[in-house]
Symmetry: C2
Subunit: 558 residues, 2 copies
Amino acid sequence: MKSERLIYLPLGGAGEIGMNAYVYGWGAPGKERLILIDMGVTFPDMDGAPGVDVIMPDMTWLEQRADRLEAIFITHAHEDHIGALGHLWPKLKAKVYARKFTGTIGRLKLDEMGLPLDAITIVEPRPAVVEAGPFQVQFVPLSHSVPESAALIIDSPGGRIVHSGDFKLDRSPVVGEPWDDAAWEAIAAEKPVKALMCDSTNVFSLHPGRSEATLAEPLAELIRNSHGMFVATTFGSNVARLKTLAEAAVAADRTICVMGRSMKRMLQAARETGVMSSFPRVVSPDEALEIPRRNLMLLVTGSQGERRAAAAALSRGKYLGHEMKTGDTFLFSSRTIPGNEKEVGRIWNALSEKGVRVVDDAGGLYHVSGHANRPDLEHVHRLLVPDMLIPMHGEHRHLSEHARIATEGGLTSLVTVNGMMLDLTGEVPKVAEYIETGRIYLDGTILIGALDGVIRNRIRMALNGHVLATVILDENDEPMGEPWVEIMGLTDRGKNGSLLAETMETELGEWMERAGRKVLKNDDKVEEELRRLIRQIAVEEIGKKPEVTVVISRLMLE
Amino acid sequence: MKSERLIYLPLGGAGEIGMNAYVYGWGAPGKERLILIDMGVTFPDMDGAPGVDVIMPDMTWLEQRADRLEAIFITHAHEDHIGALGHLWPKLKAKVYARKFTGTIGRLKLDEMGLPLDAITIVEPRPAVVEAGPFQVQFVPLSHSVPESAALIIDSPGGRIVHSGDFKLDRSPVVGEPWDDAAWEAIAAEKPVKALMCDSTNVFSLHPGRSEATLAEPLAELIRNSHGMFVATTFGSNVARLKTLAEAAVAADRTICVMGRSMKRMLQAARETGVMSSFPRVVSPDEALEIPRRNLMLLVTGSQGERRAAAAALSRGKYLGHEMKTGDTFLFSSRTIPGNEKEVGRIWNALSEKGVRVVDDAGGLYHVSGHANRPDLEHVHRLLVPDMLIPMHGEHRHLSEHARIATEGGLTSLVTVNGMMLDLTGEVPKVAEYIETGRIYLDGTILIGALDGVIRNRIRMALNGHVLATVILDENDEPMGEPWVEIMGLTDRGKNGSLLAETMETELGEWMERAGRKVLKNDDKVEEELRRLIRQIAVEEIGKKPEVTVVISRLMLE
C-alpha cells in the first residue's frame, strides 16, 4: 500500500472562474485509477478569442489515460460544470454520473451531439454510493443557483475527500434541500475529512450570504407597485428565482409568459424531474398579447446582456409581438458578471430611451448570490475540520485569499492551479508533478488549440487590418502585369488623399522592375520584400502596420 | 431681439461617459454665434473598435460653421474633455481658453501635434470674464479628481447658463479650492440661472460623496502597517491623491518613486503651475534601487489595467529594475471603470501569483469619486434653482435618472442626447433640430468615420477569419493554372482532416472548368460564385462563414 497515492489534478477551474474539470486518482504513481469531476466550458470574448463559440479545458492528459478513467461525475447543471460534456465526452467515453435534474440537462447535450443518452447514469443522493474503481462517491445535496447542486464525498483508501462543487449556505432555498449543519457534522464524524476542495468564488464578500427566501417580499412589493408591463430577467437555470418571481407576479394579479429557450428548457427539466413541486400557469407570447400590460409579467433570458437573448431583443424593439414602453418596468434580478458591464449597460440604456423604468440589484434587494461568502466558507471549514483545505473555483486572487483565511483559521492549505498535480497521501499536500494544460476552442464545428495561432491571427487582423498582394511571374521569372493589392479593414486613402492600394501597387511594381532575376526566382525573398514594402508604405501613409498576405503565381506558358 | 435664440447642442458626452463636446449659441436661427465647451476623446475596445487609437466626436456640423465659432473653453485636463484638442483644433482654429493647469496640459498636446501653443489663452477664475461674441464666460473653480476643474458661467442676452463640468462637493479637497455654498448662492443671486447643464455620472450613488481628505488617515494606516515594498496606483491626473499617498509614505518613513509618463507629466504641470504647493522628494527608479524595500513607495500608472502602463509591467515581472515579491503590498487607490474589470483582474491575479498582497477599494477606504453623488446633485439643484436642468455627462440611463430626480425636485428637465439641439430661449427647453452626429476614429494617423465600414471589416475578420482566392484568366477567359487559396485566422484542416485550402482550390478549380465562357468573362459573376463556394465549403468543413476576398487577374498575352 505504501507505494500508492491519492492525487488531485485540476485541469480547469483552478485559477479562473469557468470550465471546471478536476481529476482525482488512487494507485501506484503513474497507474492511478482516475475519476473526473465536471466538464465545464468558459465563454470567449473579443479581447481573447473573437469568433470562438466556447472554450474548454485541454484534456489531452486525461485522454491519453482514458483507460484508467473509472467515471465522470457532474456536480450541477451550470455550463461551467457541464457545458463541455457533449464536446469532450467522445474523447473519454467513461460512465457519467449525475443527479436527476443535472442528468436531464446533460442528456439534452448528448442528444444534440448525437451521443448515446445512456452514457449518463442518474444517481440518488447520499446515502446512495457510486463505486468507481477504488473510489466510493456520494452526492450530497447543496443549495446553489440551479436545482440539485451537489457536493461529492469521495472516499478512497487514501481517505475521505469532500469536493464542494458550487454552493451556498441557504437554510430556506425555495427549491431544493436546506443547508443542514448536523448532516455535515455527521459526514465529518463518520470519517475524518482528509481534504476539502472548496468553492472560492465569493471569498471577497465579507458579509454572510442571504437566503433565496429573503427575496420574496421585496420582489412582491416591487411587482405589486409597478403599473405597466413587468419584465424580469435572471439566469434561466435559477429555477428558485423564477418560481419566486412567478409567484410574486400571480399575487400581483399578473400572468406569466416565459421567453428564451434556455429558461424554458430549465423550467421543463425542473417540472419533469420533480425538483419544482409547483409553478404558476404560463402562457405563450401569443396568448400574452391578449392580456392587459398591467396584468402581465415576462420572464426573459439575457441577464448578462447576451445580444441574441430575449432581454436584448426587447431592448431593441418588438420581440414576439411584445414591445416595452413608457410606464413599463424591467428588473435585472441578477448580478452582472465582471466583463459583461457594457453589454448590460447597452440594454439598460436602450430601455431608458424607451422610457422604461429599469431596476437592478444595486440595493441588494432583488438578487442573492449562489456562492458561499467568506463567513460561510469559514463556517464550513470549522464544521468539517479537514486536514487540508484546497481552494478551487476561483481566479488566483480568490484561491490565495481563500488559502490565507483557511491558514489563519488553523488549517493547512495550498494554492493549486490548473496543471498542478497534488499528492494528498501524506499529512500535508505536496506538488507531485506539473501537467501541461491549457484551453481548447470550439470554433464553428472544429476544436482548435488556444495556442495554435489561428485566433492570434484573427486578433492581429482586427487590430492591424489585412493587406494582400498578388504578383504573377512567368517561366523566366519576369513579372506579368502589375502587382495587385487588396485592402481589408484599413482606410482606403492615405495621408495625401491618394488611394493606398494604388500607392502600394505602384511601389511594388517598381520594386519588381528593379529586382533582378536572382531575387525574383526566390519566392521567399519576393514575399519577404513585398511584405516589408507594404508595411513601410502603410506606416508612412496611415500609421498602421497591417497583416500582409502575398500570393506569388508562377505561370508556365510552355 | 425676438427672433434671436439661445441654443444648446451636445456633440459628445450626452448619452455616453466620454468625448465631451457641447455647443452653445446665441443669435438669429442659423446665424447664432457659437462657443464650444470641451473637446474630449473616448477610448476604444476590442468589441467596438479594435485597433483604433482614440474615438472623438464627429464635429462636421461645427467645422462647417467654424466662421461662427467665437471660442473654445476647456473645463479641465481629463482626456474625455481635452483629449481631442490636438486632433480636432486644426479643423476649428478658434481661440481656446482654459485655466492654467488645464492650459499647460493642453499646450503639451498642441506641441505634440506641432500646433501653435498660443492657440490657448490662460484665464483666471471668476470674477475674470472672457468675452466671446455675445457670451461672457467665467471659470468657477470646483473640486474634481484633477487640479483646477471648473464650472463655466455662460452669460448671454438669452440669460445665464451654468455648465457644471465634472465636479464633486468637496469641502476639504487637499488640492484646490473647497466647495463653497455661499459662492454658488451668490452666483444665482447675481443673475437667475436659466439653465444648469449638470454632470450626471454618479446619479445612481445614493449616499453623499466623501471628501478627498477622509482618505489621509486610512491610507497612512495601511502604508504604515505594510512591511515590504509598497506600490500604489491611481489616475496620474489625480494630483491630490498622489499628494495624500506621498505624504502618508513619508510619514511611514518611505521614499517615493514615480513610474509612468502621464503621472510624471501631471505632477510636473502641478508643480510648474503652482496648483500643488508642496510634494515630498521623489527619487528616480535607479536611485530607488538603493533604498530598502520597506522604505520605498512606488506611485505607478495603470490603475485601469492598461497593458503598457507601469502597474501591468510590474505585475508581469521586472520593471525599471524593480520587481514585486512576497511580502509586498499593491494598492488600487482607484475605482475600476466598468469594462476594465478583466484587465484589472489580470494584474491582481499576476501579483497574487507573486505572493503580493493586493488591496483595492472594496471597503471604500482608499478611494473617493471625483463626481457628485445623488444627494450632492440635489443640493446643487436647490442652491441654483435653475429654470431648467439639462443632464449631461452620462449614458442615457444616467441622464434620464438625473432628469427624473430634478423633476421630482420641482425643476423643469429634459433628457438631451448628442445631436439634439435645444432652444433654451423660452420658459421650457424645446427641441429645435436634430443634427447628424457620430464618432470618428483615430486609426494610426488617419481619422476615419465610425460608419465607414473599415472597422466593421476588421471585426468581421476577427469573428469569421479571412479567405482569399486568386484566379488567373487569359485573354480568351480561359483559366490559367489552378485557383490559389490562402487562409488567415481559420483552422487549416477541415472535419475530415483534409487541408481546407486544398479542398477549396479543388472545388473552385472544378467550378472554373464547368463554368462557361459567358460566366468567366464577367468578373462580378466569377467573384460572386467563388465567394459563395468558399463560404459553402467553409460551413461544411469547419462550421464558419469567413470573409472572402477574390482576386481575378486577367492576363493579356497578345
